[in-house]
Symmetry: C2
Subunit: 483 residues, 2 copies
């Protein structure tokens, strides 16, 4: 059926389709299009490698010269006009098996002038020549960089990961929902919010929505409404933060996956779910490691063997660690006495700093680490207070190389307790949280959930160290927004 | 495996899991949670209907009184305290088959005080009592409305539709990508843009991103970059428009699905793809009509039988119509002479008005209708000019009840022709489109694509007439943004 559909919808064959038929290849193929990765012109043969971006693999095209080639011949002139970056269309070619080589077949074209046409030329200065390009250099080429193996494959990997994530939530009976991006509430992270106004209202004293409007930093509060309608709800949505931090782990526009579900009562159930989700996604990726991870890894990215080890670690239950915040502080303080952390002392009651988080997961546990039960004043108002009266039922997931990628908690579902906490924090002065509190009055249930930064998660699994490469065109405190 | 996973992750059984095992039901079940839809207390038995939102179906619980019930007994007192909207947990119950009835089993609970506990109470004024609520009324209850059958099922339907859409694109080898929402370009629809600024910069003369920043109205231009890297790219993303129109077909924040692919040359290939996509999604939905569409349809929404007919029409190839804009104008002018349209004369060179679009698809063709090849000045600058020099290679898809839901075109891939058109329209005065034009210099290929308004599409398939119900919390020219 799939073949039929392809024929109806497209008049060209993709490289992915071609490689998908590798065990029953026809002897001839028609209508293959792509971009030239490299051309080598030898005395009796030309080799042309093309890619079309549907998969990581390239396709080798062999053009033998039909006689003792005269380099001034028409054929030679044509072949000499082929250049890296051009888009070409191939009309007809023979498929030849290539035993023993990595690419199990190649295209053989005997009449190149008839069978190869250049669709789109390149400028003299086309920068993606066949040589090593550093990532900092590629980032200066936003319209072209995705045609490279490493950055192209990174986004194909993200695409596949999003699909596997959606499948996991579907299997677990979650409803995907899209709470709003535009919000009138600034109750989380006021300093780092973006303000929004209709262009025609910027100079006026009125507001398009009747009041100051912001871009959301998290959909959680609204997602709780939906969890209480569907039992289980999740979202995948852009979130915005006017970060002043300008590091390779911060974005002003990023995608967040959030999940929220009912009838869950303890942090252990949340962390089990998160581990299961990450293992499901890793397992699906693991099946196709070579399809995602290129042979050549750029500088400052995780080498293939270490990446494979990272995935295998994730798949082993016993590599996962869980400690409480209080235990973490004890471990950190012991370490700090022996080898002091560069910038911050670990002190109970204060947030874990990046240097603490990374040391814990990278050096101490050497694997993914849940830290649970933080002091309540380190965390948001909606988290459920533990019986100790000091800590809340929450967790962060720390991973080597990145730091925090997931944070979640059980939410306070009791109206009186939540109201008290809201007052203690001097929030809700204008009743902007009344709707949220009201959920605790109408069929309230124990519930909890978590948020995962998609670009951080993708980067952790792909091994790129700069999350700005995990989104097609990044927005950050530095960098431009021209396209 | 699935059962095992469920047990590990959740300590409760969902109604979806229960109904999923309908052919091999155990005789006893434990740990079922949900919200009470209705309670009926008779002389010898109580009926409690619960829902948990994982599916449309409710679950009937039967509580026989164990003796000649004394209404002052403890049991009776407990049963009388049950009320619609409360969340309850059921510890243990017998599963009893109910032959002949629509619900094939019910729960039988003999010791309600031990086996039913109220988790969360409701206020005296809990509004979702078991009676008919109009949609305008439900829209005034944003924290509760999703618990109703019609609006809850609508969002579950959207969730399923999004997954099926993703599957279609995966089968067709598209890479899902997320071009940016924040953009420095205002070249499309300047008047209706939203401006964005970091909260801390609003009073300053500086900009967080160094220049005025907007929320995108379409990701197409950046998606073209990605199509030229992956051959086939798609996105599902919020878009924003500061609409002054305040109708049931307009949103200020909406989700748009956009697709863009290479090596496609004519509008026919685009419309075939769109038809295939809509048929794929409809076919997947059709398998589960009763799981999505409630028995009771509110006023002003499409009745079940007409909805089923709508889906069956979509599945028949011969119901799909294609005409050119020029043919459409001829048909409309003929009609206009006989029965004049209320507000607008159909005139070649002017945009089709909503009243024209709806008459064409609803009354004339009575089915989905592609209108192709509009005059170039009715459409955007990037569309490919047809050989006639007057029209462009584009299409809109018009459907009964909604109007336009899809628009697409072949893009001009020739640098000189596109530059000329950009100049003719006096665009790109500050070089803001240079990056877009540059794509036509580096391996340019024929390509095209389309955009689909997700809430319109969902509403068309679900039969609700107000697209504001197809998103959990709507943002529009009227209405509030409090949550």
């Amino acid at each position: 059926m799939f073949g039929r559909l392809l024929c109806r919808r497209y008049h060209v064959n993709s490289l992915k389709s071609l490689y998908g038929q590798v065990d029953s290849l026809p002897s001839k193929v028609s209508n293959i299009n792509g971009w030239i990765k490299s051309v080598r012109l030898l005395k009796k043969v030309a080799f042309i490698d093309i890619q079309d971006g549907t998969i990581l693999k390239e396709l080798k095209i062999v053009v033998p010269f039909d006689s003792q080639s005269n380099l001034s011949s028409e054929v030679a002139t044509f072949l000499k006009s082929l250049r890296t970056g051009q888009s070409i269309a191939i009309k007809d070619a023979k498929l030849v098996e290539t035993e023993g080589r990595e690419q199990r077949f190649e295209l053989n074209i005997t009449d190149p002038i008839d069978n190869i046409s250049i669709i789109g030329n390149v400028s003299e200065s086309y920068p993606l020549q066949k040589k090593y390009h550093s990532l900092p250099y590629l980032r200066t080429l936003p319209t072209l960089k995705h045609r490279t193996s490493y950055l192209g494959s990174l986004l194909r990997f993200r695409s596949e990961l999003e699909y596997n994530m959606a499948t996991f939530f579907k299997l677990n009976q979650f409803t995907k929902a899209s709470p709003p991006i535009l919000t009138g509430s600034d109750c989380e992270g006021a300093g780092e919010l973006f303000r929004v106004e209709a262009n025609g209202y910027v100079e006026k004293k009125q507001h398009y929505f009747g009041k100051p409007t912001y871009l959301t930093v998290s959909l959680q509060l609204q997602l709780e409404i939906l969890a209480m309608a569907f039992s289980r709800a999740w979202s995948l949505s852009p979130c915005f933060r006017a970060e002043e931090s300008d590091t390779n782990r911060h974005l002003s526009e990023f995608w967040m996956m959030e999940a929220e579900w009912c009838f869950t009562k303890d942090t252990k159930e949340l962390t089990t779910f998160v581990k299961d989700m990450i293992q499901y996604i890793t397992r699906e990726s693991y099946k196709n490691f070579d399809d995602f991870i290129p042979k050549n890894i750029p500088e400052n990215c995780l080498p293939r063997n270490e990446l494979l080890e990272r995935w295998e670690t994730l798949l082993r239950d016993e590599s996962w660690n869980t400690i409480t915040y209080t235990e973490a502080i004890e471990i950190l303080q012991k370490r700090d006495k022996e080898v002091p952390f560069p910038n911050y002392r670990p002190i109970w009651g204060e947030a874990l700093q990046s240097e603490h988080e990374r040391w814990l997961s990278e050096s101490y546990f050497k694997g993914p680490t849940f830290v649970t039960d933080y002091p309540r004043d380190c965390k948001a108002f909606y988290m459920k207070l533990n019986p100790d009266g000091q800590t809340v039922a929450c967790f962060d997931l720390l991973v080597p190389g990145i730091g925090e990628i997931v944070g979640g908690s059980i939410r306070e579902d009791n109206f009186e307790l939540l109201s008290k906490e809201v007052s203690r924090r001097q929030m809700n002065k204008n009743g902007e949280l009344d709707w949220y509190l009201s959920l605790r009055k109408e069929g309230s249930v124990p519930h909890g959930g978590f948020g995962l930064g998609l670009e951080r998660f993708v980067s952790y699994l792909y091994g790129n160290h700069n999350i700005r490469d995990a989104i097609p065109f990044y927005r950050a405190a530095s960098g431009n927004i021209d396209l």
